[in-house]
């Protein structure tokens, strides 16, 4: 029984029986009534004593379900033991071996479906608060001003280009730099971080934290270049043929926002969630006029958000913070089918978001100036399950109603962005326009070019994109080693 997974951990003095009796620690939060009016972070995170208290609950399973359920396989038990040893910097370094962005995943991972769903304590009671612990060590590291950096392999002399600085690109960069390769990340926008900066609001993921995680990668040797729209200002072929990249990873993320294709979508006040959130987050429209980016006024007006995912929750909670008179979610199924994280839905409800279930907008109505004034909807009931296994909504005849609103935000998902595909002729794409990549290796039809994250799978989560980034790093490393062998 010398298997590493059987190693006796020594920093927890309690017998297992006592550990399971300990209650899960509640993370301090900003009060709902106060936070509904500001953009500061909702969760405040564990102080050290609470983090250690929560760590005491881990019973150190020989085959840890939490690690198996983690898309990037963070060694949770080792991290928890380092927390108990009060070696928080060591714990941060331990997380970073598998996860380049711990302060981010500790905040936005859907843990109830991942690590925490694998925790054995969850079978009878509540699982260990793994995400809060991950966040704690990353925050502790950042606030200490020190860095818990994992060791890096000797330089291989190979150069990898990563297109996109979102979660997939950053995770890939973190692994490749550790493997000893030279890494250069291209970003289309003027700020690094992709969806982490344009999509997720300040109150859920402060931008300062994203910048810090990127600074850590920079410190580890990753190069970043902003304002490069690969597919427009430079092509994939130019990067491999003229600029000397030995391999490329395309991680350009979720693409074009979907609209509902109903009358009135061109009225002023109708937004895609991507536009609304980009204006608010990346361009800081919530601080207008201090910042110049405008947003169609939400203050003292009715705002509706169409959709039931995390993006919809981010948009509706933002509208509330911008002073909306009412902020409502309109979703065509019921709460059970909503893809949003449970915690996000709870937070939204506590803050006063109104939920209107089983409704579907059929027309946006406006005034003579083209400004949105109302939405006409139809009520629905659930019918037979569709391809996704969720029961499809069926409209109820004669149930139409008109609800006043000045701003409508559509969070109905995205379809593939065509920029790279349309300028890279031999890059195979799927029927729906996403990039075709091998499930196991993420290799595309072009040798040396790999792709992963939302541009391959369609819209998913930050951590799944990071998982793809890690997988790509492994494949790229194998590919580059192959190149070395061929050269020898």
């Amino acid at each position: 029984m010398s298997d590493a997974t059987q190693t006796k951990v020594t920093h927890n003095p309690l017998p297992n029986k006592e550990r399971t009796k300990l209650p899960r620690q509640r993370v301090p939060e900003q009060d709902a009534e106060i936070r509904a009016h500001n953009f500061c972070e909702v969760n405040l995170g564990f102080p050290p004593d609470q983090a250690r208290q929560e760590s005491l609950r881990c019973i150190e399973c020989p085959k840890p379900g939490c690690v198996m359920k983690c898309p990037v396989s963070v060694d949770v038990r080792a991290v928890i033991d380092l927390i108990l040893a009060e070696d928080y910097l060591g714990a941060a370094a331990k997380v970073r071996e598998d996860n380049a962005l711990p302060a981010i995943t500790g905040r936005v991972c859907p843990v109830e479906d991942q690590c925490e769903s694998g925790c054995v304590l969850g079978k009878k009671g509540e699982p260990v608060g793994i995400a809060y612990l991950e966040r704690f060590v990353a925050d502790w590291e950042r606030e200490s001003g020190q860095f818990g950096l994992p060791k890096t392999a000797p330089s291989t002399g190979k150069k990898v280009g990563i297109i996109g600085s979102g979660p997939a690109g950053l995770a890939c960069a973190g692994d490749l730099i550790q493997m000893g390769h030279k890494v250069h990340v291209f970003e289309a926008l003027h700020e690094l971080g992709g969806v982490l900066v344009y999509g997720i609001p300040e109150f859920r993921l402060p931008k300062e934290i994203v910048r810090h995680e990127i600074d850590v990668l920079r410190r580890r040797g990753v190069e970043f270049e902003t304002n490069v729209v690969v597919g427009k200002t430079v092509t994939v072929d130019e990067l491999t043929n003229d600029e000397g990249f030995d391999a490329l990873f395309i991680a350009t993320g979720a693409g074009l926002p979907r609209f509902l294709n109903i009358p009135g979508e061109h009225l002023n006040g109708v937004y895609s969630a991507n536009e609304f959130l980009t204006r608010e987050n990346l361009m800081r429209a919530y601080r207008f006029p201090e910042y110049d980016e405008p947003l169609y006024p939400c203050k003292d007006r009715d705002v509706i958000v169409v959709g039931g995912g995390n993006t919809a929750m981010d948009a509706v909670r933002s509208a509330l913070r911008l002073g909306a008179k009412s902020a409502s979610i309109y979703y065509r199924r019921t709460e059970i089918e909503m893809p949003a994280r449970v915690e996000e839905v709870h937070h939204a409800k506590d803050e006063g978001v109104h939920f209107e279930m089983l409704v579907n907008p059929v027309e946006f109505l406006g005034d003579e100036k083209g400004n949105l004034t109302a939405v006409r909807c139809i009520r629905q009931e659930l019918g037979e399950p569709d391809d996704s296994g969720r029961r499809s909504p069926v409209p109820i005849k004669g149930s139409e109603f008109v609800a006043p609103c000045a701003v409508a935000i559509i969070a109905a998902g995205t379809s593939a962005n065509p920029l790279i595909q349309s300028t890279t002729p031999d890059l195979a794409i799927t029927k729906r326009g996403y990039i075709s990549a091998n499930d196991d290796t993420l290799a595309t039809s072009k040798p040396g070019v790999f792709a992963g994250g939302d541009i391959v799978t369609g819209g998913a989560t930050v951590i799944l994109a990071m998982g793809a980034g890690r997988k790509a790093a492994k494949s790229i490393d194998d590919y580059l080693k192959g190149l070395v062998q061929i050269a020898n």
């Binding site: 900003q30 106060i34 936070r35 009016h37 500001n38 953009f39 500061c40 972070e41 405040l44 289309a188 926008l189 344009y198 300040e202 109150f203 402060p206 931008k207 300062e208 910048r211 729209v229 427009k232 979720a254 693409g255 074009l256 926002p257 609209f259 294709n261 979508e265 061109h266 002023n268 937004y271 895609s272 991507n274 536009e275 980009t278 204006r279 361009m283 800081r284 601080r287 207008f288 006029p289 201090e290 910042y291 110049d292 405008p294 169609y296 100036k369 083209g370 962005n417 065509p418 920029l419």
Partner: protein
Amino acid sequence: MVSDETHVVTDDGSYGTKGLVTDKLKEVMAAGKVDYVLAVGPVPMMRAVANMTGPEKIKTIVSLNSIMVDGTGMCGGCRVLVNNSSQFACVDGPEFDATQVNFEVLMQRNNMYREQEKMSIDRLQADPAGELDRLRLKNHKYECAAEAVGVTNE
């Protein structure tokens, strides 16, 4: 210079001849056959050009300046009605066949932030140096980091 003839018109006559683009276009169209018109500029001008060339069946391309945020296809803010369907100027355009473009919707959408744009311009003009200083400062300041401790309620 890639054209055989170049005509310049300005609103106030400060360069070339005084007048509108459409005045000159009318002359050129009257003088001989025109095969292709490319119009780039303010929406009312492009619409006026399209209204002149459309009935004459002259192929006319306009370059649309709808409001864009990122310009990479991500936000959909630049959507324009072309042939009655939604197109994104950033990835589907910005050049479109003028006869297919719904200019009314384009103008309406371009007016969406008129009030806020005026506020921003007034603010800049009132104190250009101060505004620039504020922008530079902001690039180095992370807003909520300062606020989170005291949890401010605006």
